[in-house]
Symmetry: C2
Subunit: 195 residues, 2 copies
Amino acid sequence: MSPTQARSTTTRARILSAAQAQFAKDGYERATIRAVASLAGTDPALVIRYYGSKEGLFAAATHFDLCLPSLDHVAHADIGETLVRHFLALWEGNPADPSLRILLRAAVTHAEAATRIRGLFAEQVLPAIRVVAPDRPALRAGLVASQILGLALCRYILEVPPLVDMKPDDVIACIAPTLQRYLAAPLDGGFTANA
Amino acid sequence: MSPTQARSTTTRARILSAAQAQFAKDGYERATIRAVASLAGTDPALVIRYYGSKEGLFAAATHFDLCLPSLDHVAHADIGETLVRHFLALWEGNPADPSLRILLRAAVTHAEAATRIRGLFAEQVLPAIRVVAPDRPALRAGLVASQILGLALCRYILEVPPLVDMKPDDVIACIAPTLQRYLAAPLDGGFTANA
DNA sequence: GGCTTAAGTCAACGCATGTTGACTTTTGCG
DNA sequence: CGCAAAAGTCAACATGCGTTGACTTAAGCC
């Protein structure tokens, strides 16, 4: 790669990084191309040249992977805890991946972002859960998603007081048994009778 | 009330109703005063005259009450189910109250809406839960909120496939035991050791 | 009936946005 | 060096927004 190509690559990366920061902070509609360019130390026109449009920039800023661990070699009793721990690390890791924050902030008003989240669910969460919960995996994965996303919403977006201040290990201790039940509860009896 | 006052009251109500519909559908930033006025069959200027600004219109469109039932006369074992059932009715009732949908859609990017949700939590959810779970009520209420909001997010906003298609009674059967555990689980042992 | 006040309408302003095209600067290569 | 292509910059456009003020219409009251 020639030096001049390297420079453009660097600029593109700076723009993408700035875009992720702005989308994560302000959501899709409040984030502006001008603010992204300013944060990246460049020009709005360059942002458009490299990413085509605001939509294209958003798509590029949210291409990522949940990196779910394979659950089939985890002790059955530890699957719930493994899942919460993984998602907490995703949100709070150093550096934290901003993509989930971006996606969650945007998905509420942006149809394509919502589709993307459903895609993550169908292509990454559901398959991982299918291998450890072969009966009604979609239902179980959906319940897991509702608790995980609800936790993320309250802790990282809405900042509901008791949840935002908890230590990660305490969050794990509270949430893990819920996921464990969603994954392992028998279908007859106390779970869901019909359907 | 004179007929002319009655007319203005009707118009104000039509505007408010249209605003709720638009905010619920599009979120705060995508909803426009012009669209609200058009849906209400009136003029944008009138919207501003009656509600001062877009912020004022939003504030008026989200003044509401969770109408939580008093839990102190519910059998202990039924509190979880009572709560889910109540929130499901709030979202799906006929007519469904659009306020929660509006608030959830907006809170993700609108600071004041997020504050409003925290206010609902502190002033309505927390007190109701305090009377049935006197030890660490804030923690328990926070966990309940995370599951309820996560369910609402997945079922009504993101429309994650397995959750959006479930019958209300099945949702209740799945979620109620989770809330029950959050409210009634002993603090030592499997819940959260320290903190 | 005519005057006062409120209800409703219209056109316009100022502003911020995404996006475009022409321009200038820098780089790589013969 | 000198040219071609790429990287980067600038000013401007068109559009849609919230909001404003002047205007017109209708209603209530003496």
